[in-house]
């Protein structure tokens, strides 16, 4: 029997939880149909998380593509269907794309090995410079930091996930929640997740309270890594420094918890626990347009 999982009309990091709430009731061996026919919009997190969802299933899932032509066309240009057909049995119309027509800052890109990070960083720099300076009104210096942040976020997959993952970067007008343009990095994998990664560290001791939330606090806030060398944990620390400097937001979900470094412009929960279990780690970095001080 196939279970239908309905994708919300607007798919982002928050609404993806609705997908996971539905999926949580069914073991990975259960056949599911991910129904995105009525989805109108998806953030980079939404698209990469949909690919990650397929990877988390043992039974190959079905996928119903968006019926709205513009939406399907955008998903195609973002590279979603290129990879979705490898993991889902895709139903519905998949628009064709021509090389070079994408306006996406960085299309969905697999991250499986160190060389992939070089490719991602190489591709993003020129486009990022244009977006960050001209559309976000942020100092040109922020461009290099942006690429560094992207690099560290991708390396998190290679160093800790135990399998490949996905990255996508896009800029858009975040009218509803912020009223400003933002640039968003989404990095998702269906790997071992933060808790298992830290548990694999030599000499790791389980405390009285040890769960996904605690593992996220250790890694994201305290810079603990499964590698015991002093210099480890620099990547997430660097990402935090970057978002702190440019008033950005960082959220990392792993297992049943999500930790968020919440900027003043947002009212997200700093730590959400008891979420539906989802393997691996899903990270989102949001850098908002800079507005002139009043």
């Amino acid at each position: 029997m196939t279970t239908v999982i309905t994708v919300p009309p607007s798919l982002d990091d928050t609404s993806f939880e609705q997908v996971l709430e539905q999926v949580a009731h069914f073991p990975p061996e259960q056949k599911i149909l991910v129904d995105a026919r009525h989805t109108r919009w998806a953030s980079p997190y939404g698209l990469t998380a949909l690919l990650t969802l397929a990877e988390s299933r043992i039974e190959r899932p079905d996928f119903a593509a968006p019926e709205i032509e513009d939406t399907a066309s955008y998903w195609a240009r973002a590279g979603f269907f290129k990879y979705a057909v490898e993991m889902y049995d895709v139903h519905g119309h998949i628009p064709k794309t021509r090389a070079g027509e994408s306006e996406v800052l960085l299309e969905i890109t697999p991250v499986r090995k160190s060389e992939d990070v070089h490719t991602v960083v190489g591709r993003i720099q020129q486009k990022a410079a244009e977006i960050i300076q001209k559309k976000l009104n942020i100092d040109a210096k922020a461009t290099v930091g942006f690429a560094m942040t992207l690099s560290e976020a991708c390396q998190n997959i290679i160093e800790h996930a135990g399998r490949g993952g996905w990255v996508m970067v896009q800029t858009y007008q975040w009218q509803k929640r912020l009223g400003r343009r933002v640039v968003v990095i989404a990095v998702c994998d269906a790997g071992v997740g933060f808790r298992s990664s830290l548990e694999s560290a030599q000499g790791h001791r389980l405390g009285d309270r040890w769960d996904d939330a605690m593992a996220l606090e250790e890694a994201v806030i305290r810079g603990v890594s499964r590698f015991r060398e002093t210099g480890r944990g620099q990547g997430l620390a660097g990402i935090r420094r970057y978002i702190g400097r440019w008033d950005g937001k960082l959220s990392v979900r792993s297992g049943t918890a999500r930790i968020t470094i919440v900027p003043e412009w947002d009212d997200d929960e700093p730590l959400a626990e008891g979420l539906p279990n989802f393997p691996g780690a899903q990270m989102q970095i949001t850098i908002p347009e800079k507005v002139a001080a009043k």
């Binding site: 160190s114 060389e115 990070v117 070089h118 960083v121 190489g122 720099q125 210096k141 290099v144 930091g145 690429a147 560094m148 690099s151 560290e152 390396q155 290679i158 160093e159 002093t230 210099g231 620099q234 990547g235 620390a237 660097g238 420094r241």
Partner: protein
Amino acid sequence: MSHLIDVSAVLRRTVADHFSDLVTRPTGAAVRTQIEAQLLLSTSATVVIDFSAVGLLDFSCADEVVAKLLLRHAADSPEAGDPFFLFRGVSDSHLDAIEAVLERHGLALVAEPSDGPRLVVGALDPLERVAWEAISRLGSAAPADVADAAGCAVADAEDILEGLRRRRLVRRRESHYLTVWEEGADA
């Protein structure tokens, strides 16, 4: 004479021809291994590590290339043959990553930015920094000169300068201390 190591050339030779960004730990480890191999063949007291043609340097790579190099050659107990390092061509963005990893390890280095005067970066206390700046300004100085500049006793200046020398941030020639870029044998 100093020995020049072009990091970008090492990167292209070691990892891939078309790479100009120093990103990821495996890349950093490969580049450092090659730098170490060049150091084995070097007889120069000062080695210039040239970042001029390096694009991006991320935190992980800064840790692998810069911090681990210093930990091996310029931490607490460097050996007599360990070189002094001058990091040339570092940009503001390189410095962001480098300073972060130096602070984490309690290290410091001498940098020659592409567009500014040489400076010392990393973990130093204010007196050490004043002492280093005095040596940098004077080129070569006795502990008494540094004591004047730092407003401390000569014996304290000697201790500070010896500490800087052990960290390979200044060199010593007889009773004087000099910058790492000055030519001359280290006592």
